[in-house]
Amino acid sequence: MKHIVKIMTFLVAIIATWISLLQAAMIPQSHTWLLPLYFIVSLGCYGLFMVGVGLMQFPTCPQEAILLQQDVIEAKQFLKRKGVDVGSD
Protein backbone atom coordinates (compact mmCIF):
# COMPACT_ATOMS: atom_id res chain seq x y z
CA MET A 1 0.00 0.00 0.00
CA LYS A 2 1.40 3.36 -0.91
CA HIS A 3 2.39 5.56 2.01
CA ILE A 4 0.05 8.37 1.03
CA VAL A 5 -2.86 5.94 1.22
CA LYS A 6 -1.86 5.07 4.79
CA ILE A 7 -1.79 8.74 5.71
CA MET A 8 -5.14 9.43 4.03
CA THR A 9 -6.70 6.49 5.84
CA PHE A 10 -5.37 7.82 9.13
CA LEU A 11 -6.77 11.29 8.40
CA VAL A 12 -10.14 9.91 7.33
CA ALA A 13 -10.30 7.86 10.54
CA ILE A 14 -9.59 10.97 12.62
CA ILE A 15 -12.19 13.01 10.77
CA ALA A 16 -14.76 10.22 11.17
CA THR A 17 -14.08 10.11 14.91
CA TRP A 18 -14.46 13.87 15.08
CA ILE A 19 -17.77 13.83 13.22
CA SER A 20 -19.11 11.04 15.41
CA LEU A 21 -18.13 13.04 18.49
CA LEU A 22 -20.03 16.00 17.07
CA GLN A 23 -23.10 13.84 16.52
CA ALA A 24 -22.94 12.00 19.85
CA ALA A 25 -22.76 15.27 21.79
CA MET A 26 -21.11 13.64 24.79
CA ILE A 27 -18.77 16.60 24.97
CA PRO A 28 -20.23 20.12 24.65
CA GLN A 29 -20.39 21.09 20.95
CA SER A 30 -18.28 24.21 21.43
CA HIS A 31 -15.35 22.05 22.53
CA THR A 32 -15.82 19.46 19.80
CA TRP A 33 -15.65 22.06 17.02
CA LEU A 34 -12.26 23.12 18.28
CA LEU A 35 -10.76 19.62 18.39
CA PRO A 36 -9.11 19.82 14.95
CA LEU A 37 -7.43 23.03 16.03
CA TYR A 38 -6.15 21.38 19.21
CA PHE A 39 -4.88 18.48 17.13
CA ILE A 40 -2.95 20.70 14.72
CA VAL A 41 -1.51 22.81 17.51
CA SER A 42 -0.41 19.69 19.40
CA LEU A 43 1.21 18.35 16.27
CA GLY A 44 3.08 21.63 15.84
CA CYS A 45 4.19 21.63 19.46
CA TYR A 46 5.33 18.04 19.18
CA GLY A 47 7.35 18.91 16.10
CA LEU A 48 9.00 21.90 17.74
CA PHE A 49 9.72 19.85 20.83
CA MET A 50 11.38 17.11 18.76
CA VAL A 51 13.47 19.69 16.92
CA GLY A 52 14.56 21.22 20.22
CA VAL A 53 15.43 17.90 21.81
CA GLY A 54 17.29 16.80 18.72
CA LEU A 55 19.22 20.04 18.63
CA MET A 56 20.26 19.73 22.26
CA GLN A 57 21.31 16.12 21.81
CA PHE A 58 22.94 16.69 18.42
CA PRO A 59 26.00 14.48 18.48
CA THR A 60 29.24 16.28 17.67
CA CYS A 61 32.71 14.91 17.26
CA PRO A 62 35.42 17.58 17.44
CA GLN A 63 38.07 14.95 18.08
CA GLU A 64 37.34 13.47 14.67
CA ALA A 65 38.69 16.52 12.92
CA ILE A 66 41.99 16.07 14.74
CA LEU A 67 42.12 12.35 13.96
CA LEU A 68 41.40 13.16 10.35
CA GLN A 69 44.31 15.61 10.22
CA GLN A 70 46.60 12.86 11.52
CA ASP A 71 45.27 10.45 8.91
CA VAL A 72 45.89 13.00 6.18
CA ILE A 73 49.51 13.47 7.28
CA GLU A 74 50.11 9.73 7.43
CA ALA A 75 48.50 9.24 4.02
CA LYS A 76 50.50 12.01 2.39
CA GLN A 77 53.79 10.64 3.73
CA PHE A 78 53.06 7.15 2.42
CA LEU A 79 51.81 8.29 -0.96
CA LYS A 80 54.68 10.70 -1.54
CA ARG A 81 57.13 7.84 -0.94
CA LYS A 82 55.30 5.77 -3.52
CA GLY A 83 55.40 8.46 -6.15
CA VAL A 84 51.86 9.75 -6.01
CA ASP A 85 51.55 13.50 -6.41
CA VAL A 86 49.99 14.79 -3.20
CA GLY A 87 50.66 18.46 -3.71
CA SER A 88 47.98 20.90 -2.58
CA ASP A 89 44.74 20.74 -4.59
Binding site: L55, A65, G83, V84
Partner: protein, 241 residues
Amino acid sequence: MAEQHNKNKYSIIVPTYNERLNIALIVFLVFKHIPDVDFEIIIVDDGSPDGTQDIVKQLQQVYGDDHILLRARPRKLGLGTAYIHGLKHASGNFVVIMDADLSHHPKYLPHFIKKQMETGASIVTGTRYVRGGGVHGWTLMRKLTSRGANVLAHTLLWPGVSDLTGSFRLYKKSVLEDIISSCVSKGYVFQMEMIVRASRKGYHIEEVPITFVDRVYGSSKLGGSEIVEYLKGLVYLLVTT
Protein backbone atom coordinates in the same frame (compact mmCIF):
# COMPACT_ATOMS: atom_id res chain seq x y z
CA MET B 1 39.47 -9.96 17.01
CA ALA B 2 39.58 -12.75 14.48
CA GLU B 3 37.03 -12.44 11.71
CA GLN B 4 35.50 -15.41 10.01
CA HIS B 5 36.80 -15.66 6.48
CA ASN B 6 34.75 -13.27 4.41
CA LYS B 7 34.11 -14.64 0.94
CA ASN B 8 32.31 -11.53 -0.25
CA LYS B 9 33.67 -8.96 -2.65
CA TYR B 10 32.94 -5.29 -2.09
CA SER B 11 32.80 -2.77 -4.93
CA ILE B 12 33.32 0.72 -3.54
CA ILE B 13 31.92 3.33 -5.90
CA VAL B 14 33.31 6.84 -5.46
CA PRO B 15 31.98 9.55 -7.79
CA THR B 16 34.57 12.31 -8.08
CA TYR B 17 34.80 15.84 -9.41
CA ASN B 18 37.95 17.83 -8.69
CA GLU B 19 39.16 15.63 -5.86
CA ARG B 20 42.78 15.07 -6.86
CA LEU B 21 44.07 15.08 -3.30
CA ASN B 22 41.11 13.56 -1.50
CA ILE B 23 40.85 10.56 -3.79
CA ALA B 24 44.45 9.59 -3.02
CA LEU B 25 43.82 9.97 0.71
CA ILE B 26 40.66 7.90 0.50
CA VAL B 27 42.38 5.11 -1.40
CA PHE B 28 45.18 4.99 1.16
CA LEU B 29 42.69 4.86 4.03
CA VAL B 30 40.57 2.14 2.42
CA PHE B 31 43.63 -0.07 2.02
CA LYS B 32 44.64 0.74 5.58
CA HIS B 33 41.30 -0.23 7.13
CA ILE B 34 40.14 -3.27 5.16
CA PRO B 35 43.37 -5.04 4.20
CA ASP B 36 41.94 -8.54 4.56
CA VAL B 37 38.80 -8.01 2.52
CA ASP B 38 38.34 -8.61 -1.20
CA PHE B 39 37.41 -5.25 -2.69
CA GLU B 40 37.75 -2.89 -5.61
CA ILE B 41 37.43 0.89 -5.75
CA ILE B 42 35.53 2.19 -8.76
CA ILE B 43 36.22 5.85 -9.37
CA VAL B 44 33.64 7.54 -11.55
CA ASP B 45 35.24 10.82 -12.49
CA ASP B 46 33.22 13.36 -14.43
CA GLY B 47 36.01 14.88 -16.47
CA SER B 48 37.67 16.76 -13.60
CA PRO B 49 39.77 19.63 -14.89
CA ASP B 50 42.16 19.44 -11.90
CA GLY B 51 43.83 16.22 -13.00
CA THR B 52 42.01 13.80 -10.70
CA GLN B 53 42.27 11.08 -13.34
CA ASP B 54 46.06 11.44 -13.52
CA ILE B 55 46.24 10.89 -9.78
CA VAL B 56 44.03 7.81 -10.12
CA LYS B 57 46.43 6.40 -12.69
CA GLN B 58 49.32 6.97 -10.28
CA LEU B 59 47.34 5.17 -7.60
CA GLN B 60 46.83 2.27 -9.98
CA GLN B 61 50.62 2.01 -10.27
CA VAL B 62 50.88 1.70 -6.52
CA TYR B 63 47.89 -0.47 -5.71
CA GLY B 64 47.15 -2.33 -8.92
CA ASP B 65 44.47 -1.77 -11.52
CA ASP B 66 42.54 -4.79 -10.32
CA HIS B 67 41.84 -2.91 -7.11
CA ILE B 68 41.48 0.59 -8.55
CA LEU B 69 39.16 0.99 -11.50
CA LEU B 70 38.90 4.28 -13.30
CA ARG B 71 35.59 4.52 -15.12
CA ALA B 72 35.45 8.15 -16.19
CA ARG B 73 32.77 10.15 -17.94
CA PRO B 74 33.21 13.18 -20.19
CA ARG B 75 31.57 15.80 -17.95
CA LYS B 76 29.34 16.29 -14.91
CA LEU B 77 26.39 14.01 -15.47
CA GLY B 78 24.83 13.70 -12.04
CA LEU B 79 25.17 11.49 -9.00
CA GLY B 80 22.48 8.91 -9.77
CA THR B 81 23.89 8.14 -13.19
CA ALA B 82 27.39 8.00 -11.66
CA TYR B 83 26.26 5.16 -9.41
CA ILE B 84 24.55 3.40 -12.31
CA HIS B 85 27.72 3.77 -14.38
CA GLY B 86 29.85 2.43 -11.53
CA LEU B 87 27.43 -0.45 -10.97
CA LYS B 88 27.91 -1.64 -14.55
CA HIS B 89 31.58 -2.22 -13.82
CA ALA B 90 31.17 -3.63 -10.33
CA SER B 91 32.27 -7.24 -9.95
CA GLY B 92 31.52 -7.53 -6.25
CA ASN B 93 28.37 -8.92 -4.69
CA PHE B 94 28.21 -5.91 -2.39
CA VAL B 95 28.44 -2.24 -3.29
CA VAL B 96 29.53 0.62 -1.04
CA ILE B 97 28.78 4.20 -1.98
CA MET B 98 30.65 7.04 -0.35
CA ASP B 99 31.56 10.67 -0.92
CA ALA B 100 34.93 11.68 -2.27
CA ASP B 101 35.55 14.72 -0.08
CA LEU B 102 36.70 12.73 2.98
CA SER B 103 33.59 13.55 5.00
CA HIS B 104 33.03 9.78 4.93
CA HIS B 105 35.96 8.08 6.63
CA PRO B 106 36.97 4.63 5.33
CA LYS B 107 37.61 3.52 8.90
CA TYR B 108 33.89 2.77 9.13
CA LEU B 109 34.02 0.22 6.32
CA PRO B 110 34.75 -2.67 8.72
CA HIS B 111 31.73 -1.60 10.79
CA PHE B 112 29.45 -1.70 7.76
CA ILE B 113 30.77 -5.10 6.71
CA LYS B 114 30.50 -6.55 10.20
CA LYS B 115 26.96 -5.27 10.67
CA GLN B 116 25.87 -6.76 7.38
CA MET B 117 27.42 -10.13 8.14
CA GLU B 118 25.90 -10.23 11.60
CA THR B 119 22.39 -9.34 10.51
CA GLY B 120 22.20 -10.44 6.88
CA ALA B 121 20.83 -7.01 6.03
CA SER B 122 20.28 -5.94 2.43
CA ILE B 123 21.37 -2.39 3.20
CA VAL B 124 23.56 -0.93 5.92
CA THR B 125 23.34 2.85 6.10
CA GLY B 126 25.61 5.17 8.02
CA THR B 127 23.84 7.55 10.38
CA ARG B 128 25.31 10.73 11.80
CA TYR B 129 22.46 11.39 14.17
CA VAL B 130 22.75 8.67 16.80
CA ARG B 131 25.05 8.25 19.76
CA GLY B 132 28.41 7.04 18.53
CA GLY B 133 28.00 9.08 15.40
CA GLY B 134 28.20 12.80 14.98
CA VAL B 135 28.98 15.79 12.88
CA HIS B 136 31.84 18.26 13.07
CA GLY B 137 32.02 21.59 11.31
CA TRP B 138 28.36 22.61 11.32
CA THR B 139 27.10 25.89 12.68
CA LEU B 140 24.09 26.03 14.96
CA MET B 141 21.95 27.21 12.04
CA ARG B 142 23.01 24.27 9.93
CA LYS B 143 22.23 21.85 12.75
CA LEU B 144 18.84 23.50 13.20
CA THR B 145 17.88 23.14 9.54
CA SER B 146 19.17 19.59 9.51
CA ARG B 147 17.18 18.64 12.59
CA GLY B 148 14.06 20.47 11.37
CA ALA B 149 14.29 18.75 8.00
CA ASN B 150 14.71 15.42 9.72
CA VAL B 151 11.69 15.83 11.99
CA LEU B 152 9.55 16.92 9.05
CA ALA B 153 10.66 14.00 6.92
CA HIS B 154 10.08 11.53 9.74
CA THR B 155 6.60 12.88 10.48
CA LEU B 156 5.58 12.69 6.83
CA LEU B 157 7.38 9.62 5.57
CA TRP B 158 7.94 7.22 8.52
CA PRO B 159 11.13 6.08 6.79
CA GLY B 160 12.54 3.65 9.32
CA VAL B 161 16.04 5.13 9.30
CA SER B 162 17.44 8.00 11.33
CA ASP B 163 19.60 9.63 8.63
CA LEU B 164 17.69 10.05 5.39
CA THR B 165 20.12 12.17 3.40
CA GLY B 166 23.24 10.23 4.30
CA SER B 167 25.19 8.81 1.39
CA PHE B 168 27.59 6.41 3.10
CA ARG B 169 25.92 3.07 2.53
CA LEU B 170 26.53 -0.60 1.88
CA TYR B 171 24.10 -2.38 -0.43
CA LYS B 172 23.74 -5.89 -1.69
CA LYS B 173 24.44 -5.37 -5.36
CA SER B 174 21.15 -6.88 -6.51
CA VAL B 175 19.23 -4.64 -4.09
CA LEU B 176 20.98 -1.50 -5.31
CA GLU B 177 20.26 -2.42 -8.90
CA ASP B 178 16.62 -2.95 -8.04
CA ILE B 179 16.11 0.36 -6.23
CA ILE B 180 18.21 2.60 -8.42
CA SER B 181 16.15 1.76 -11.47
CA SER B 182 13.05 3.25 -9.84
CA CYS B 183 14.62 6.47 -8.52
CA VAL B 184 14.39 9.69 -10.48
CA SER B 185 15.37 12.48 -8.07
CA LYS B 186 18.58 14.45 -8.05
CA GLY B 187 21.10 15.41 -5.38
CA TYR B 188 20.42 14.61 -1.77
CA VAL B 189 16.72 13.99 -2.48
CA PHE B 190 18.02 11.09 -4.56
CA GLN B 191 19.63 9.62 -1.43
CA MET B 192 16.36 10.06 0.43
CA GLU B 193 14.41 8.46 -2.38
CA MET B 194 16.73 5.46 -2.43
CA ILE B 195 16.36 4.66 1.24
CA VAL B 196 12.63 5.37 1.38
CA ARG B 197 11.95 3.15 -1.64
CA ALA B 198 14.08 0.43 -0.09
CA SER B 199 12.10 0.73 3.12
CA ARG B 200 8.79 0.54 1.27
CA LYS B 201 9.91 -2.54 -0.62
CA GLY B 202 10.57 -4.24 2.68
CA TYR B 203 14.33 -4.60 2.40
CA HIS B 204 16.16 -5.30 5.65
CA ILE B 205 17.98 -2.08 6.55
CA GLU B 206 20.45 -1.71 9.40
CA GLU B 207 22.24 1.39 10.65
CA VAL B 208 25.78 2.06 11.79
CA PRO B 209 26.85 5.26 13.59
CA ILE B 210 29.36 7.27 11.59
CA THR B 211 31.12 10.55 12.18
CA PHE B 212 31.02 13.19 9.50
CA VAL B 213 33.67 15.89 9.31
CA ASP B 214 32.40 18.59 7.02
CA ARG B 215 35.33 20.34 5.42
CA VAL B 216 33.32 21.57 2.48
CA TYR B 217 30.69 23.56 4.35
CA GLY B 218 31.31 27.22 4.03
CA SER B 219 31.50 27.06 0.30
CA SER B 220 28.02 25.61 -0.10
CA LYS B 221 25.58 27.43 2.10
CA LEU B 222 22.10 26.14 2.68
CA GLY B 223 19.97 28.73 0.94
CA GLY B 224 16.29 29.33 0.31
CA SER B 225 16.27 27.48 -2.98
CA GLU B 226 17.72 24.37 -1.33
CA ILE B 227 14.95 24.43 1.25
CA VAL B 228 12.34 24.69 -1.51
CA GLU B 229 13.95 21.79 -3.36
CA TYR B 230 13.88 19.75 -0.18
CA LEU B 231 10.20 20.43 0.46
CA LYS B 232 9.35 19.59 -3.14
CA GLY B 233 11.32 16.37 -2.74
CA LEU B 234 9.42 15.48 0.43
CA VAL B 235 6.05 16.00 -1.21
CA TYR B 236 7.17 13.95 -4.21
CA LEU B 237 8.26 11.11 -1.91
CA LEU B 238 5.09 11.41 0.13
CA VAL B 239 2.92 10.91 -2.91
CA THR B 240 4.91 8.45 -4.98
CA THR B 241 6.39 5.97 -2.48
